[in-house]
Structures are given as C-alpha cells and as structure tokens.
Subunit: 156 residues, 2 copies
DNA sequence: TAAGATTGATGTTTCAATCTTT
DNA sequence: AAAGATTGAAACATCAATCTTA
C-alpha cells in the first residue's frame, strides 16, 4: 500500500510565498521607521512589552523565551544588550537559585512608551492603510490565526 | 491646523502580530524540515530557482538582488557560498566588464530538484493542511497581496 | 561622477558545550 | 540526571567604504 501525500495547491503555494514576502516587506518598513526615528529594533520593544506586562515588571528568561519564541541563547543575549543599555536588569531569583529574574527599568519603560507611537503609526501605514476596510484586517487575522500554534495574545 | 493620524484598529494590530508570528512559525518549521533532510536553507533554493528560471540559467547579481529582495552585499555573499559549494559559478559578463554573470551548475540544478519535494511537502503540512479548504488559501493569498509592493510572481 | 559589485568591520544568530543548582 | 541559564565559536547579516569600468 503506497502512502500518498497531497500536493499543495497553487493557492496554497501562493499563500506561502506571499506570507514570506509580506512579512519581509512590512517588517523592513516598520524597522526602517524605528531606525529613522533613532529608536532601537522591534525585538527590544517586544521584550520590554513582555516585561512591562508581567507581574512586577519581571520575568524569568525562560518565560521571556516562551513569549518571544526565541532560542534560549538568543534571549540571553537580548537581555545582555538591554541590560548594557540600561533598559533592563538581572536580579537573583528568590526560591530558585539556578534562575534569574529580568526586570524592566524606569528607562526601559520610558523607552517602550516612546517607541509605541512610532510603531503604531508604522502599523497604520504599512498594514491598516493597505488593507483598507477593517473587515479585511479581521479576515486576514482570522486566516493567519489558522497557521499559528496556539500561543499568547495579539498585543503588539 | 493639526495633523491627525488614524490609529490602527485592534483588527489591524492583530493582523500585524499574527503576520509576524505566522511567518516565524511556518518558516521555522519549513527550514527545520529541510535541515532534517540534510538539505541547505531556503535562501539557497530561492537563489537556485531564480537562476534556473532565468534565460540560460544565468543572472547578474543585481537582478538576483531584485528578485530576492536582499541587500547587495548579502547577495554577493550568498553567491560566494553557492559557488564554494559548487552549485553556482561566476563568469565575466560580455558587454559590460563591470558586471558578473552567475550561472547555476548541473549540481545546482540537481540540488534544486532534490529540495523541491521536501519543500513542497512542508508547504502542504504547514500551510495547506492548516488552512483546510482551498478557498481559504485563495482568500489569504489575496489579502496578503494587498500588503506587498507589486513585485515578481508567486512561485516558491 | 555613477553603476555594478565586492570587502572589512561590526553586530547578531545559531549550535553545541558548559556551568550551576535542583 | 535534568532544569535554568550562559558562553565560545562559527555562520550570517548589515553598514559603510572601496574598487573597477561606463
């Protein structure tokens, strides 16, 4: 008995290639606007937001890792950079001496708030405006949701 | 007169975050399957495909750059790697001695053909299967198209 | 001077190995 | 041994400077 494997339709292939390209282009555009405003990259914002939302403004690296979908070593080095820049700091973790706690600093929170308007405007320009009617954004979000392994929320 | 800038709706923000996440997850999954099959990364496939489709199997680096949406230096180094691995080669460009021509080799074409079934199966598994009905793939491709600055086709 | 392309320096990501505590 | 986290080395990306020919 031969195993047969369905082939992706042209529509599926088109969805795939456009997913890659749309992400590439919008990401480049948004990162470009941040840079042009003299602000750090989106990955910093993402990390700062997760810390900011967390209880007490602190998370363990492994929790940050889950939320950001980054490799462990990657998170470790992102924290390094944030810490060097003064936007986060590591503290010992009470109750589990293996672990660390990463806390957002006052400067970190200020930076996050400063980045958001620029980020928001970029989303408006490169996503919302292009899609036009809001129903299309809703439909797109719905379809993209089907590609995602259930995880976390939707806040930018 | 104050300039007002529309804010992105929740739907638009959700579309944005899911675009990033869906790309990240499907890309990781697809790259993972290639690696697991002992094959090189998708960027190699992309370049080999463009060369393969081109007249005479050859393109100038700047044309490759346009099609792949990569930075110039990035393309230059991708060609380096392909050339080192024997899948492409540089030759002088007749008629414009500043330029180069990059040609896919026999091994390069064989590699491309070997990668496609693995790549195709990954698209099926991580995109087509998840979307289910083909109309959804069509709808997704349509919406993503609105985010893309008109460029090139849809072949993977 | 501008176009086509490469290179050096620097920063980031990735992989495997390591270190510490449970 | 396994969990939490970091580190060294190598691959890759990015930015500005460079080189060559048009």
């Amino acid at each position: 008995m031969t195993e047969t494997m369905a082939e992706p339709s042209l529509a599926a292939i088109s969805a795939w290639t456009r997913l890659i390209r749309a992400q590439q282009q919008t990401m480049n555009a948004v990162e470009g606007e941040l840079k042009q405003a003299g602000l750090p990259p989106l990955s910093w914002y993402d990390a700062l937001l997760e810390l900011s939302r967390a209880e007490g403004g602190r998370l363990r690296p492994s929790d940050l890792q889950e939320r950001l979908l980054l490799a462990q070593s990657n998170v470790s080095r992102l924290i390094d950079r944030l810490e060097t820049a003064g936007f986060a700091e590591r503290c010992p973790c009470p109750g589990d001496a293996r672990g660390q706690l990463v806390a957002i600093t006052g400067d970190g929170e200020r930076l996050r708030r400063q980045m958001w308007p620029v980020y928001r405007a970029a989303i408006q320009r490169h996503v919302a405006d292009r899609l036009g009617a809001e129903e299309r954004a809703t439909a797109l979000a719905e379809l993209l949701g089907m590609l995602i392994e259930a995880k976390g929320g939707d806040r930018p």
